[in-house]
Amino acid sequence: MSSQSIPQQAPAPPLPRLGEITETVTNTIFGKAPLWWLIAFGISSALAGAFVLVLGAVALFGTGLWGINVPIVWGMGITNLVFWIGIGHAGTFISAFLLLMRQSWRNAFSRYAEAMTLFALATAGMFPLFHVGRPEWIFYFAPYPNTMILNPQWLSPLVWDAIAISTYGGISAIFWFLDLIPDIAAMRDKAKRPIPRAFYGFLALGWRSDSNHWERLHKTAYILAALATPLVISVHSVVGLDFAIGNLPGWHHSIFPPYFVAGAIFSGLAMTVIVGIVLRSGYEGLKDFITMDHIDKALKLMLITGLLVTYGYMAETFGGWYKADAFELPLIIERAIGPYAPFYLAMLFFNCILIQLLWFKPVRKNIALILVICVGILIGMWLERFVIVSVSLSYTYLAPTWEVFNFTFWDILTIFGPFGFFFAQFLVFIRFLPSLPISETQQHAVEVAHA
């Protein structure tokens, strides 16, 4: 549209007071820690402690503490790895992909979603580290030059995983920090005491809000976004390939890579919305920035990705039936009516049926229902990973070795502990760094005022 076809409006509406946005965001940090933050941090740290306990025990006594054995050699370690990497995906999707699509509503989410990416990756990274059983030798994953020319097994998707995830983590960290620089500078300028001023001053890298600075920042952010978007696809595709290449009934599906990407964004958006709602209710001032409209849009995206995941289930199950495969079909039937049926049916309920409520606008406005649906999605997507990883391994090509997974005490801790580890990191982040991108929120406010 050229500008002349937009009807002239009479007087321009008043601009939002941009200083207020800065105040609101910086106040969440310079103010005293609210009670809910202290309680949340306490609980998260306790859970994180449990997680550290599990990892320590596994390192000392071996991976047998987890209920893994032949044929189910992949248990909680890999299930959680896939789950947590998935949680991270929404961050980059929101900050990079939606930036390329010029969706400026993303700004309210982008900062904390990107932070979630980093913390989820840090959490996910723990699992392969300890699942291999020899964390002290993990450096063999890196193709470092050595005199014995000992290289990683390039044909193994696990090595691709190590490369894909570390690349992804690196780019995400740079992208996140670049976006933070102007806001850290704002923190520096608002800080009253010398130690915070020095701390933020050091991190601000001498930012002066010069127009040259801005131009370079935007260009770099755009280039990094263009680099990060394929990474969102590639990382979870590689995770999908871990299974698809594994040549097992329930694993060997060509749809796995793209459908893992959809599932990752699906679960990540659920976590983003939950955190958004918590931030809104925790800091009154943020309500004006993380609005119900933002949440509505995220929920719509969630519905779309959820439908893609449902399509994946359909394509996979239909194939087993259509081909009447001697191994695939028994797996599909066992999954639905065998000992794992509660897991599988709960997964279908949370990922395919419950989300249909999101078609209706009143549901997308009801905070309680939204929380129920989002928590349901997290449970459903965790179950999906469990069904793919451990349930498929239970029904291999050798029927006499069929086995049912036994959860041990340590498995249960491994399910809940990482949530504490993740949220403890996240809570530290929102105490010390701006959880909303100040300048981009101002930009969006100006655009909305003009529209």
Partner: protein, 387 residues
């Protein structure tokens, strides 16, 4: 009914008539010499043009949600493309006639006989076509109605219809691809096949729309919409579609290559190990040219450049469909002199229906309040590199 005499459209129409006539004559002569081969090549032509029409329908529905600036420029092209679906239903009749010559499951009894039998196949095909035609006419009808009425309620209806329509679309295309294309080899199943087909549709429809937009770009109502930004966005989206297609194609190959299971490689084996392997390599490497060109900074600013790429991509689509279908019938790659006649005959007829549909209505949507919701270029955007 403004501006239905755009000069380039007249030329295209004349061209389409000539191509259709020549194509039909060549096809008729060829079909007399080898009926089996006629049906095989006809299937290739049918898929090629059906994918364009279906891609138009899908983007029309997506546009009702995304409301991108680029979408308004090509909205009526997509609408006309979607409204050719009744013709696709007619064009399906020869496929039905050739059913026993094309699909091995008709004569043998396959493992999935409960699903793959003639009666059920025809019933399903009728359902797919009915759903697509219904969606295309309902959604374009609402938009045309609004040209006169200018009623915002219409858009809300079009939007809800598009949401439901997209769900139906992905479901029906999933099964249509299994029935029409995958079951040429009943031994084989690939769960990604539906999405791969959708990505081909996207690529075809985008490239095709871009060509038509180029023809109309200097004509008054269209030129207002084909802004520089919309054109660059269309070029970028073409690149995105290309990347999605390449990603899905490669993943399908890679997963099956790595596992090397008999039941999975039965499809790739004739397509890669015989002289068809050369065609496969040509398809793979030829797509790098548009990829590199579209990614070059500044290339997309000139519409003429992108038109060349879009035309090349369309030709590659035809080669691609040929490679998908023909190895089931020909053990080695070969061409006959009349092979190109069939897609041209079908294409000429399809094009005439498309043009008739395109010229029956305004070339751009009228009274669309959403047009004013397209934001002006903000400072933030201009700070970004334009391509």
């Amino acid at each position: 009914m403004a501006d239905s005499n755009a000069q380039p459209l007249n030329q295209v129409q004349m061209g389409a008539i000539v191509v259709a006539v020549i194509g039909v004559v060549i096809t008729a002569i060829g079909a007399l010499s080898d009926v089996d081969h006629f049906f095989q090549i006809y299937l290739v032509a049918f898929f090629f043009w059906t994918e364009i029409a279906l891609g138009c329908l899908a983007f029309l529905m997506i546009q009702n949600h995304v409301k991108g600036e680029w979408g308004f420029a090509i909205q009526r092209i997509l609408a006309a493309g979607a409204r050719t679906l009744p013709l696709i239903a007619v064009l399906f009749v020869p496929v039905i006639l050739g059913l026993s010559r094309l699909y091995p499951w008709v004569t043998t009894s396959p493992a999935q006989a409960g699903y793959m039998n003639q009666g059920f196949f025809l019933l399903r095909s009728a359902i797919y076509l009915a759903i697509w035609i219904g969606l295309a006419y309902a959604i374009t009808g609402l938009s045309y109605r609004n040209d006169e009425a200018g009623d915002t309620g219409i858009f809300r209806r079009a939007q809800s219809l598009s949401s439901l329509g997209l769900v139906l679309f992905f479901l029906t295309t999933f099964f249509a691809y299994i029935d029409w294309m995958m079951s040429l080899n009943p031994e084989w199943y690939s769960s990604i096949f539906g999405w791969l087909g959708n990505s081909r549709q996207a690529l075809s429809a985008f490239a095709f729309s871009f060509l038509i937009l180029f023809l109309l770009k200097d004509h008054k109502p269209v030129s207002d919409f084909a802004t520089k930004r919309a054109r660059i966005d269309l070029g970028t989206l073409l690149l995105v579609m290309l990347m999605i297609w390449a990603y899905l194609s490669w993943i399908q190959y890679f997963v099956m290559w790595a596992a090397n299971l008999t039941s999975k490689v039965v499809w790739f084996d004739p397509r890669l190990t015989t002289s068809w392997g050369g065609v496969a390599r040509f398809i793979a490497f030829a797509h790098f040219i548009p990829f590199i060109l579209l990614i070059l900074p500044g290339f997309k600013r000139n519409m003429r450049n992108v038109v060349l790429v879009a035309g090349g991509l369309l030709v590659l689509r035809l080669v691609d469909v040929f490679w998908f279908v023909m190895p089931e019938f020909l053990p080695n790659f070969s061409l006959r002199w009349w092979d190109l006649g069939v897609p041209l005959a079908v294409g000429g007829i399809w094009m005439l229906v498309f043009l008739w549909s395109l010229r029956g209505h305004d070339l751009v949507p009228q009274n669309d309040p959403r047009l004013y919701a397209v934001p002006e270029e903000s400072n933030y955007d201009t700070a970004l590199p334009a391509s």
